[in-house]
Structure formats: C-alpha cells, structure tokens
C-alpha cells in the first residue's frame, strides 16, 4: 500500500475507534459530576471537580456488593454447569456411537432455533410446581442440564477436530470412555472450554430477562435487575446511574481484556463453522 493510502487508512481506523469510545468516555465523565453540572454543563468532558463521592453513594443507595455476590453465585455455578454437562454431552455426540444419536443431534440443532418466549410461560408454571420461583434454581439448574444447546454444539465441533489416533492409543491401553474424556479430551479442549466459559459469563452476568421473571425479593436481585430497579426509582440521578453502570461493567471489561483471545476465537468459530 502506498504511504498516503496507509496514513488515510490509519486515520479512518483511529477516528472510528474514537467515535465508538465516546459513550464510554461520556459515561465516565457523567459519573463524576455533581447533579447540577450533569444537566447544566453536560458537554463539559472533564468535570470541574471530579466527584468520587458519587461512587460511594452508588454503593450506599444500592446493595451493590450483595447484588454482585448474587450475580457471581449464579454466573459461577452456571459456567461450571455448562462446562461439565456440555462437555459430557458433546463427547457423546462427537465420540460415542449410540442409537438415534444423529437424530438427537438434529433435535439439538432445532432447539437452538426455538425462541425462549415459547417456553417462558410453561417454565414459570413448572418452576412454580417445583417451588423454585424466587430462588436461584431456575437460573442455575438449566445450565447444568445444558440449557444453552449452542455450547454443546461448539464443544462437539471442537472435539471432532481432535485426532482419533490420540484417543485410540488410550483405548488400546484399556482406558474407558470416561477416562478418555477426562484425561485426553478435556485437557486438549482448553481453548474451547475457555470460550464456553467466557460466553457463559457474559450471558449470565448480563442476563436481565431471567431474573426479571423469576426473582421477586430485592435481596435476591442480580446486578442487572438491581440497576434496572434503581433506574426506575431514580430517573434523574444520572451521575449515580452512570457510576452504577460502570461498577457493573468493570468485571466484564476485566474478563474481556484478559481473555480476548478466546472471545475472538470463539466468535470466529461460531461464524465460520455454524
């Protein structure tokens, strides 16, 4: 590429990056302003005097730590659930021969098409029969039963790429399927498992619909639901709301920055192989 064209290209890349960052910057700036300045001087990017107190107030006005704990509990257990159950099921689809396997796999693919709205009302009724309403169970148990078939699909595709020779050697040594799954497949599939873990993290950390439907008591709220509830009560407290949003965003941002590789690989896989 000629130099001028390269410079132009770089300019385009970075100016677009700047535009995409604006909402973040504005959120940060708003979160540090006193209430009157948020309105009077909303275009001032650097607050006259940064108000870190807004963050203290955010923690005071909403039990952020409690909601973080709830969200973390749900998210962690869900990730574990997807990893354990998802990999087992994926193994059976990728490496075991059983009657009706291919038909069941078609069913699995079909369920990926089903809009969640179809099942939400009956699920509400079923969870009620199980006495699970207003507990974390409706949010966690489905993950242990592979409630997000896409993850099985992703893991199966990865398992298929692992050479048969590796597992056959173990078989000759007398290893059973469970040993192969545990000792060979899982260690070799770390990147795929990481991808699943990260997607599951985002999915449940940010989940709003599930908690909205299934949780009733404020002490059980998740961060997303708590933020929404606070926003419904205090619609003009923009600086506090922005501070809360940032607090909620930070863990995702940290996970994202450190696990970027798996994000990118995971998404790329879904696109080219899906």
């Amino acid at each position: 590429m000629p130099r001028a064209q390269r410079a132009l290209h770089a300019a385009a890349v970075w100016s677009l990056a700047a535009v995409l960052l604006i909402p973040f910057a504005w959120m940060l700036s708003s979160s540090l302003k006193p209430p009157d300045e948020v309105f009077a001087d909303s275009m001032r990017w650097i607050p006259t005097e940064p108000r870190w107190d807004n963050y203290r107030k955010a923690f005071e006005e909403m039990p952020i730590l409690l909601y973080t704990r709830n969200t973390m509990l749900i998210t962690t257990l869900c990730i574990l659930g997807y990893l354990v159950s998802g990999s087992l099921v994926a193994y059976s689809f990728a490496r075991l021969r059983w009657k009706g396997r291919d038909a069941w796999f078609m069913v699995l693919l079909a369920t990926m098409m089903l809009p969640p709205q179809v099942t939400i009302v009956p699920l509400f009724v079923i969870f009620r029969k199980l006495h699970w309403i207003d507990t974390f169970m409706p949010l966690i148990v489905p993950a242990w039963l592979s409630g997000w078939p896409f993850f099985i699909f992703l893991l199966r595709q990865f398992f298929l790429t692992i050479p048969h020779e590796l597992t056959e050697a173990a078989r000759v040594d007398g290893a059973g399927h469970f040993t192969i799954y545990l000792r060979i497949m899982l260690p070799l599939s770390r990147p795929a498992l990481a991808t699943v873990a990260i997607f599951a993290f985002l999915l449940h950390w940010n989940d709003f619909f599930g908690p909205l439907i299934f949780l009733a008591q404020e002490s059980r709220f998740t961060l997303a639901l708590g933020l929404m509830t606070y926003a419904a009560k205090h619609q003009s407290e923009w600086s506090i709301l922005m501070a809360m949003s940032i607090v909620m965003l930070l863990p995702t941002l940290a996970v994202f920055l450190f696990c970027q590789r798996y994000f990118v690989e995971g998404i790329a896989t879904t696109g080219s192989k899906g």
């Binding site: 509400f124 006495h131 008591q217 419904a232």
Partner: protein, 465 residues
Amino acid sequence: MTSSDGAIRSVLSRLTLGVGAGLTLALFAFVRPPSTGVEGRTNVRLWRVTGAEAEEAPSWEWFGEAQDDIHVQKIGLPFLEIEQKFLTAEVGGVPPDAFEYFGSVAQWSTRGALMPLDGFMERDGFDRDSVFPALWDEMMWNGRTYAIPVGTATEAFYWNKEHFRRAGLDPERPPQTWEELREYALLLTTRDAAGEIDQAGYVPGYWSPNATPIFLNWAVQKGAVFLNAEGTEVDLTSDACVEALEWEANLFGELGRDALIRKRASFGYGSQHGFLGGRLSMIVQKSSFVQEIEKFAPDMEYGVSMIPPPADGRPGVTAGPAWIGIPSGAKHPEEAWAYLKFVTSTETQLRVAEFAADRNLAAFFPANVEAANSPQQQSLPHMDVFTKSMEFAAPSTVVPLAHTVFWREYGNAWDRAMRGSMTPRESLELAEREVQRALDDQIEYNRFYAEYLRERDAPAGGGAR
C-alpha cells in the same frame, strides 16, 4: 509474540485470576443478605411502593415499638415493577405477608391472590365505620372484604404565581373554567424567535416524564360514567368522554403540537421537572406534589386549587385509595393482621397526620374519618382544597376487573388523540373495544373459576358453605 511478552501476559492473567478469585471468595465470605428479622420476633414482610421523593410516616417502626412479638420488615419496590413482582411471588408461593398498594383490588381478589379479611374483622370487632364508607366498595368482591383502605390520593391544580404576575394575571386567582384555563395557557406560553416554546403555560396531560394522562378528570367533570352498574359494559365513547378528549386535543393543537411535544420531552425528573424547574406555569398533579415542590423548588410561589371544570360541567376529580391486604399463602397471616389493625387504627392514623403536620408534608388523605378531620391533618398545607376535592371525587379504578388493560389502552387513546394520529372519537372507540374484550374475558373466566371452585369443594366440603 515474543516469549517475554508471553511470560508477562501469563503472569498478568494469573494475577488477575488470583485477584478475581480472591474478590469472589471475599464476597461470599463477607456479604450476606441483610438480616431480615429481629431475634425473638415473628418476621412480617411488608411490600409497598417506594419512590424517590416522598418522606413517609414509618408505621412499621411504630408497630415494632408498640409490641414485642412481631417485626415488620418493610420492602420497597418501584411502582413500575411491583405488580409483576407480586405476581411472581404469589405464584411462586413466597408472597409477602402484607401488601400495600393502590389501584385495583379486584384484579387480585378475583384471582384468589388476596385473603378475605372478614373472619379477622368479625373476630376482632373491626370498626368499619372508622373509614370513609365510599372507600369500601373497591375493597369488596362477592360480598367479602379483601383489603382495608389506608388513605386516598387525589389530584389538584397547581400554578406558579410568579409566572401569573409576569403575564399580568392576578396571582391569587387560578382559572375557574376550561375556557379560562385555555386563555391563561395561551397567555402564559412564551416563545423564542424560532417559535420554540420558552415557557410553557400549560401542557395538556403533562404530569411527569412517565406520564399519567389526567384525561379521566376532565371526563368526570363532563359527567362521564365509564362502566355500567352491573360492571359488564365499558363506555369510553360517551359524549362526555369524547368532548373531554376533544377539548384537550384541541388545546394541545392550539398551543402548537410539535413545539409542545419537544418542550415536554425536555422536561425530566426532580429539578428538571417542568413545573418544579419553573419552565411550566400550570399543572394538574397529585396531592403529594406539594412535597416535591418543597423539596426541589422551596422558593417557588405557588397556589393550589381544585381542577377547573367546564362551564357546563361540575367540579370533579378522580381519587384512588391506597389499601393494605394479606396475600393468600402468606406465612404469618395472623401477625400480618395485627399490623393491618395497627396501621388502620384511628390512633395510628392520627399519628400519621401528626407526623405529616410536624414536617409540613401533604402526601395523603387518611381513609380514617377521625384522622382526616383532625386539626393536625387540617393544618397541612392546602388541605382545605384537598378536603373539598374529596367531596367531588370519583374512583380512579374505572374498570376494576381489567385494570391494567384499561390503563394501557386509555393511555394509548390519549396519546393518539394528542398527536393527532386519530380523532378523539376513533381513538376512544379503539380503546373501548380492547377494554371491553378484556372485561368480557375476565367475567367469563371468573364464572369458570367459580364453577371450578364449587366442583372442587363440593365433595370434600360436604356443603359446609
């Protein structure tokens, strides 16, 4: 990637992982849900609506001081969420022990979500006459009582005296009729060079950003009756309704529809509220608005009067009772009832009035007759206006069995007429169809449910009832 890069990266990611895991563990170790109860006391969970603005008389705390056996845990939920959360809790079998709310009792009582209170009331000799008799109607279903009225919120007309003065109007004299309201609105509206509204005199239907259209008030003044006596036919297309909506829509158009919508969109909450921010001269708002004025615009010179009626109409306003009930399946109904008795007692209601008088709050009109007429209550700001309004009050729960559908369709009808995408009559016709359909459904479903209950109880109950 160089190997040192990789090493740094791996150290960094391990570090983050460690810190993350540490934080997580700390969260689980140290953060617990707030302790819900008090040692040695039965915990009664009370759900009620909380907003940002109002200071409330803490009856639950007083109750805790008055006896040693029961602790009332107050849980506040935002208005927009509380009904859905209540349904969730009720369906899930984990309802609160007491539920304080306003709006339709019937939509819960007909579904069996509230407990009939008659047994408790008879046993303890609850004095029904202590409460304004008109308020009981909405608490009843099939001859049983499902909730006890706590208070009433009504609406009134507020004006900014300073704006009146500047426009050459008598600051002590609010508009007396619709026609005067229109004249004043035109007079008080100022525009900049580009034709944009600077100061709005009046914005029809503006309440706060999540608008509650106040059109019901106008229709009531015209003499509209929204539901027949049997409760089976919805009427939103009576001449009274249509004329009221036409009047409002015309005024909206006359003031400049687009400019008005832009102006309204610029209003926010708190100090950004149109009236509180001094950018709007006249507004119809709830009785507790006084409190918001005190909080956000303490220096404002304002007046309060009854909502002006049409020249050929009568004074009128809608008022909705707040009530408290015990959800079916509550864990501690007996203890909840003790709290209900306490909070609705004349003694407590008087104390609420006193609490409000001490702080100069004007939030609520007590349901209790004695408290309402008490000197404390009457000393509250502008109470004379609210007391007078109550004489002309019509219930704001217009179609109890299809309450949510009614409010939604009514809001849509109003919105369509204001924006001119439909004529008021067409718009009301559309709304009426939807509400009627929802009402028919509910009536049919209620019949089915009654039948179901009869069949279910027949063999076991042996004709006990």
